[in-house]
């Protein structure tokens, strides 16, 4: 844990942007939480937007790393999809703020979304061409790879971040529930995508 002030600011901002949302997060609130003054935040990050930018940059890098680690020695074919899904659920339990931020940034749109994509785009491309290859090899059902990716993204990110909907369905968002959700998603994706052969 980096104890540098700027890192502490980034941590607190990440958490607040993810949970409360960017607009509902005031610099004063972040500062108060860290027991520093707002001007210290503005010393490290010239504007609130710049702070968001830095949060996104750092988070996107961490996300990318988590995926890489998850994919290390993950085998081929279907095992790769499973590895990625497992990586996301691992993040959901260890660093839920990261996924909440992804959700928030997707909602904010450009320029925030553009910035995040800049880092994540290589992964997206790899994922897309991987799916494409699996399909042409007949190991996965045919779909538009991009739409399939959106569907997978929505499902997984939803299962992991839609806490309110989860509650509405009468399921409490505990650690145990997360494991069940992971099993469910994997089961769903397997039967949706994998071909018999």
């Amino acid at each position: 844990m980096a104890t540098g002030t700027s890192d502490r600011i980034l941590d607190a901002a990440l958490a607040s942007f993810g949970s409360r949302g960017y607009d509902a997060t005031s610099l004063d609130a972040v500062a108060k939480q860290l027991d520093i003054r707002k001007q210290t935040i503005l010393y490290w990050f010239p504007t609130k937007e710049a702070l968001l930018g830095s949060v996104i940059e750092r988070s996107a890098t961490e996300l990318a790393e988590a995926f890489e680690v998850g994919l290390e020695g993950a085998g081929e074919g279907w095992a790769k999809v499973e590895a990625v899904v497992r990586a996301v659920f691992r993040l959901a339990s260890r660093r839920p703020e990261l996924l909440a931020l992804v959700r928030e940034v997707a909602r904010l749109g450009p320029p925030a979304a553009t910035k995040m994509l800049l880092v994540l785009d290589p992964l997206v491309q790899r994922a897309s061409s991987f799916l494409e290859a699996e399909m042409t090899a007949g190991r996965m059902r045919r779909h538009d790879p991009r739409l399939l990716l959106l569907a997978i993204y929505s499902t997984v990110i939803g299962m992991v971040t839609e806490v309110e909907v989860l509650r509405a369905l009468g399921e409490e968002p505990t650690a145990r529930s997360l494991v069940r959700r992971r099993a469910d998603v994997l089961g769903l994706l397997r039967s949706a995508l994998k071909t018999e052969a």
Copy 2:
């Protein structure tokens, strides 16, 4: 188009809450868009929160109606799932603000989310027990009905409202694309859920 002032306010607020988000929507902005004064809004709705409440109430009712209409004479079993998905995509093309609001309200959490759920809960219960019945009848693969519902919700709402992610994947959110997305979702759900028999 209802020409009553309070209805016009509700329309504009719905659109802004859905697209910009609740926090980023100011009463002044809504008023300006309608060429009235903020105080007129506060005459019809005592506070901003109350305005959100009314927007939610009206939208939830409209949503519920849309589902009912979609389900009318929709046949049994899998046809029902298809009818619901089609109803959502019809809304996505005719009243996208409604779905954007659902997304925003889910993000805001209680008390807004609670209010929306109050109206939508019967539908949720019906859907849940429908899925349960289909599974015990062996017409659908076994899953936890609630988690399955969350997965379906996430996928469909995501395919319909995640415009930024869609763009990131290189697909423009046109009307034609919406039709393709609907076909894709239906295909995915069918192979994920339907049993062979």
